[in-house]
């Protein structure tokens, strides 16, 4: 399966070509994205997983390698599906830069998921953040430029940290391969281990939107167009989550023996609180979604920081629910805000009565984010609650705060849904009903997962099995140890 590298190479070639293609760019965008999606589906179906691909022919710890395991392929699919969903929202964009950025982003997010090398991961992260910054700045007004610059500053600070972490790893362990690092990291003394972990964690948390690191989130969501929001959420966000799972859980599993995981618990609880409370009085729907995605990442991180089997499973459910729900919400927001020419949800009164499918999809997504039963998010919440309560006192307190904070989430989301359904005549508004198809399909998916979690339970089980029960499996695949 050496051809897996095409997932990165083809979009990059398209990025160079996009300088000349002009009007053809849009078609190329669809072709390349579809190629990536179909290719990853075919890898998924091929039954050859897991496998390891060496680039340049150099054996794993020496050269760069791409690794495909169960986790990888699921996240690969998530990233590419999100890409396809997002580009359907792209309309009337002439600037070739937009398309170049998109192609680079596509390549980088695929690469982030595929790579098995620390420095390579760092480079892909850099690429994706630069591309997102460029995309955020697309509108070229004061707001979006400022947002892009702020994102750049924070992500550059983050990359400074992760680069020093990688430097320290290379200095002390002399290797860059994930598996090799995981194997050798245990030999380091505690202080060095902590320093490396802290530096790397600080850079990861920027992308994971955890509180003191996340001041870019709201502004960049507000300043960018919907498709870019969906890129940020569906592609960069998903790839970042993958990075967190892969690196924190497989490379640094000893984190749970230090108090750093406790700090992570506290930070994620704060993130949830700040996200939920911040959204409470917000009128701009996009900013509400930004705050809410912050809160969701807080819950996700809480589950990861607890580190037990069940809490990680809960986190994965949260990922699935948040992934689907936010895509739905961005699409609905886009359609409604374009119809009334305002992002303030108060102006969207009555649209739900004329276009109920969009509003119902939004409501289903919101309920899933709130962790309501019969929707995907519930199982995540339930798992995390159970595992948190059977752990120590800090996590008990944390989950109590998170649950109370999710009350606030319920209030603001259902208030928005209610606003959609208020009795008001909106005859002048016109939205093509074609746009209801994708959100409705995604909302149905949320329902299916919520009612019958068995539909994804096996996949999640594979993922956690790989993380918790057989971390050595991953190492063996890469280093081809027996």
């Amino acid at each position: 399966m050496n051809s897996i590298v095409f997932l990165v190479v083809i979009p990059l070639i398209a990025a160079f070509l996009s300088l000349f293609l002009g009007n053809l760019n849009k078609i190329t965008m669809y072709i390349v994205t579809l190629f990536n999606l179909i290719f990853s589906i075919s890898v998924f179906m091929s039954g050859k997983i897991p496998f390891n691909v060496a680039i340049g022919g150099w054996k794993a710890p020496f050269g760069i390698n791409f690794v495909v395991t169960d986790i990888t392929i699921y996240f690969l699919l998530l990233v590419n599906i999100a890409a396809l969903m997002s580009i359907t929202m792209v309309k009337d964009i002439k600037e070739y830069q937009f398309y170049s950025f998109y192609f680079v982003l596509l390549a980088a997010t695929n690469g982030m998921v595929l790579t098995g090398d620390m420095f390579n991961f760092y480079l892909f992260t850099e690429l994706s953040t630069f591309a997102i910054a460029g995309l955020v700045a697309y509108k070229r007004d004061r707001l979006s430029t400022g947002a892009a610059l702020k994102f750049l500053i924070l992500s550059s600070t983050a990359s400074l940290f992760s680069l020093s972490s990688i430097g320290l790893i290379y200095k002390t362990l002399g290797t860059l391969n994930f598996a090799d690092i995981a194997l050798k990291l245990t030999k380091l003394n505690q202080a060095s281990y902590n320093l490396i972990l802290i530096l790397f964690l600080a850079s990861m948390l920027v992308e994971l939107k955890i509180f003191p690191f996340n001041l870019w989130v709201v502004k960049s969501y507000e300043g960018s167009i919907t498709s870019v929001n969906m890129f940020t959420h569906g592609m960069l966000g998903t790839a970042g989550i993958y990075g967190a799972i892969r690196i924190l859980l497989i490379v640094f599993p000893n984190m749970y023996n230090t108090n750093i995981s406790k700090v992570l618990v506290i930070l994620s609880v704060f993130t949830v609180l700040i996200g939920e409370i911040g959204a409470l009085k917000e009128k701009n729907l996009v900013k509400v979604l930004a705050f809410s995605s912050m809160a969701q990442m807080g819950i996700f991180m809480f589950g990861i920081a607890l580190g037990s089997f069940e809490s990680i499973k809960g986190s994965l459910y949260i990922v699935v629910s948040n992934y689907l729900a936010k895509l739905v919400m961005f699409i609905v927001t886009k359609q409604y805000s374009r119809a009334v020419d305002s992002k303030n949800y108060i102006d969207m009164k009555g649209l739900g009565r004329k276009y109920p499918i969009l509003a119902i999809s939004f409501t289903i997504a919101a309920l899933s984010l709130m962790g309501m039963p019969f929707f995907a998010g519930f199982w995540g919440k339930f798992s995390i609650v159970i595992s948190a309560l059977s752990l120590d006192r800090l996590s008990t307190l944390g989950i109590a705060i998170i649950l109370i904070a999710s009350v606030i989430e319920g209030v603001y989301y259902l208030r928005i849904s209610h606003t959609f359904f208020v009795e008001k005549d909106v005859n002048s508004v016109n939205i093509s009903r074609v746009y209801s198809i994708i959100p409705f399909a995604l909302a149905l998916l949320i329902l299916v997962v919520g009612i019958y979690p068995n539909s994804i339970e096996q996949m999640l089980f594979n993922v956690i099995d790989e993380i918790k029960n057989a971390p050595n499996k991953y190492i063996n695949i890469i280093l081809s140890l027996k």
Partner: protein, 247 residues
């Protein structure tokens, strides 16, 4: 008020930084294997050490397809940058590409006035440019033998363009640069795909069997260096044009 606030923030930042420095110091004096400020790590079979000894091929490895690929580039740094980690290098080039693309997006457009170039600069610029081009060309051609390589070579070549811009001479077209950039970029991946077709592995150095120290040695390394040099040169020159065209 604002000054006081920024002073306060600076003091806090300073405190945090000094705390971090203290922490790093504390980490460095911790016992056991780990981060040390002054370290004399006894050579072990670390990956890095094996790179230095040019002995990464494992006898039992199935990757033992080329006997000479390991030896062909004389320069250790080059063989790491353009062979073992060619993919990373390519990505770095793309980071540059993205940065320059974003440049036009993020930098606000406003008009600037530039002075007319002096006569001396105008007259001497061709000589300077030729010198720069020669040095740049030498660097990437000999990248696999001596220190240097595609990145610095590209930067030097782009200074030739910069001088042209400063002297007000028409050298290359903005459009041409883009074509060069794209062709160089696509070619890098094209060679990667070619290697996939020939050897079944991406970015493998499939031209083998030459002698160390020759100009034409190191397989694909000089080719990649040339492409990288062109690409970097075109990209950096693009920045100058980006500014120049705004004037």
């Amino acid at each position: 008020m604002k000054d006081e606030k920024s002073l306060f923030i600076n003091i806090v930042a300073l405190l945090i930084l000094s705390f971090m420095a203290f922490y790093i110091y504390k980490v460095s004096i911790d016992t056991g294997e780990g981060i040390k400020i002054t370290d004399n790590i006894t050579p072990k079979m670390r990956v890095a050490d094996r790179f230095l000894k040019k002995n990464v091929l494992d006898e039992n490895s199935t990757y033992n397809f080329s006997q000479t690929a390991e030896d062909t580039s004389a320069n250790i740094v080059t063989s790491i940058v353009v062979d073992y980690r060619l993919f990373d290098t390519t990505l770095e080039v793309i980071v540059l590409f993205v940065t320059i693309l974003g440049f036009g997006f993020v930098i606000p457009k406003d008009r600037r006035r530039i002075l007319k170039p002096s006569v001396i600069l105008y007259r001497w610029s061709p000589i300077l440019m030729i010198l720069m081009l020669m040095i740049g060309g030498y660097m990437f051609i000999n990248g696999h033998l001596s220190p240097g390589g595609g990145f610095p070579a590209g930067a030097i070549i782009s200074t030739a363009v910069l001088i042209g811009v400063l002297a007000g001479r028409k050298t290359v077209n903005h459009k041409t640069l883009k074509v060069v950039e794209a062709i160089a970029g696509i070619s890098i991946f094209g060679i990667g795909i070619a290697s996939f077709i020939i050897k079944g592995v991406f970015f493998q150095n499939f031209l083998t069997g030459d002698k160390i120290g020759d100009l034409f040695s190191g397989g694909l390394i000089p080719v990649f260096y040339a492409l990288i040099a062109f690409k970097v040169a075109a990209e950096l020159s693009n920045i100058y044009f980006e500014f120049y065209e705004e004037c």
